[in-house]
């Protein structure tokens, strides 16, 4: 499979995996291994003073996985920037999944605040991977301010609905000069394969893997689907047609004469 390049860094894997919702750190570690992931997302939260829980970083081998801290919980640009700086202090690197989701029901990203935060963070040398609604104009605006990717949603976070934004995703993919990572809502490996066949550069999956009965096996299924979808895209798939087109020759039938 051809390499994915984000901000000058090469990746063999086109499947980014989120580390939330796993029943244990052990299950998470097995899943990111089976997914063949090279980039995993994490979130920043207050330390529980009364009950110092185990630390997720001890379960992630940072020599194998690039940490992609997210700004989840941020309701506006200022909160996202604060989280971004804390994340940079924690990791020592600039990579960031920017998400600004003021709406608690659908967790849809705020385009105005996301663009505002992206502009400031790019100027502050962050490598910004913004989570956005599937809005082609917003995607261009983010690319113009210097984000490393755009990460449009397939459907609401954790909803498993698949590619509900297909038409807009196709436009984003057609127009983008930065990698397009389809993020959120992919519930099945077939959804991921579908996105990759359309020409997405990568996908980000969390809930569908983490909440499966067997997360490691589901991670493997997504890995295979992402690879299959990418290879299919690079192989030049043909368009659908209304009429049949015979696969076998239409001459030399036994019944003839």
């Amino acid at each position: 499979m051809d390499k994915l390049v984000i901000a000058g860094r090469e990746f063999d894997s086109r499947l980014l995996v989120g580390t939330g919702k796993f029943a244990s750190c052990q299950l998470m570690a097995e899943a990111i291994e089976m997914a063949g992931a090279e980039m995993v997302t994490v979130a920043l939260r207050r330390v529980d003073i009364e009950n110092d829980n185990d630390d997720i970083l001890s379960a992630i081998d940072r020599s194998r996985y690039l940490l992609l801290p997210n700004t989840s919980g941020a309701r506006d640009a200022d909160e996202a920037i604060r989280l971004a700086k804390l994340a940079r202090a924690a990791t020592g690197i600039e990579w960031l999944k920017l998400e600004v989701t003021p709406d608690p029901y659908y967790l849809l990203p705020d385009p105005v605040e996301t663009l505002r935060a992206a502009e400031i963070l790019v100027r502050d040398n962050f490598v910004v991977l913004p989570y956005i609604n599937a809005d082609p104009i917003l995607a261009k605006r983010l690319e113009d301010v210097g984000t490393a990717t755009v990460m449009p949603l397939a459907s609401p976070i954790g909803s498993n609905q698949g590619l509900k934004t297909r038409a807009a995703l196709e436009i984003i993919i057609e127009q983008a000069n930065v990698p397009v990572v389809v993020d959120a809502g992919l519930g099945l490996p077939s959804h991921a394969a579908d996105a990759m066949e359309m020409g997405a550069d990568a996908v980000l999956v969390n809930t569908a893997i983490a909440t499966a009965a067997d997360p490691a096996e589901m991670a493997r299924a997504f890995k295979l689907a992402v690879e299959a979808g990418r290879i299919a895209f690079k192989s030049g798939p043909r368009a659908a047609a209304i009429k049949a087109s015979a696969s076998s020759p239409l001459t030399g039938f036994l019944m003839d004469g």
């Binding site: 939330g20 919702k21 920043l44 939260r45 207050r46 630390d55 997210n70 804390l86 969390n206 809930t207």
Partner: protein, 69 residues
């Protein structure tokens, strides 16, 4: 008495104790290798924890990475 607001909750400590961020984390039983700290909204780099003196009335935020998508 030293009063610190830690992660949004006021906590009292006997006067002068803890002196530094490192001492605070030790007292709270928190592994400082994975923590990021903010004092009154300013980030404190981990290598400066031991030199960062605390004073009464400060707001301390202690955060760390958890699983997330």
């Amino acid at each position: 008495m030293t009063m610190l607001r830690i992660n949004g909750t006021d906590r009292e400590f006997p006067a002068g104790i803890p002196h530094t961020l490192t001492e605070l984390l030790e007292q709270l039983g928190i592994n400082q290798a994975t923590v990021v700290a903010e004092i009154d909204g300013k980030i404190v780099e981990r290598q400066s924890f031991a030199q960062t003196r605390l004073s009464s009335g400060q707001a301390v935020e202690l955060v760390r990475f958890v699983g997330g998508g």
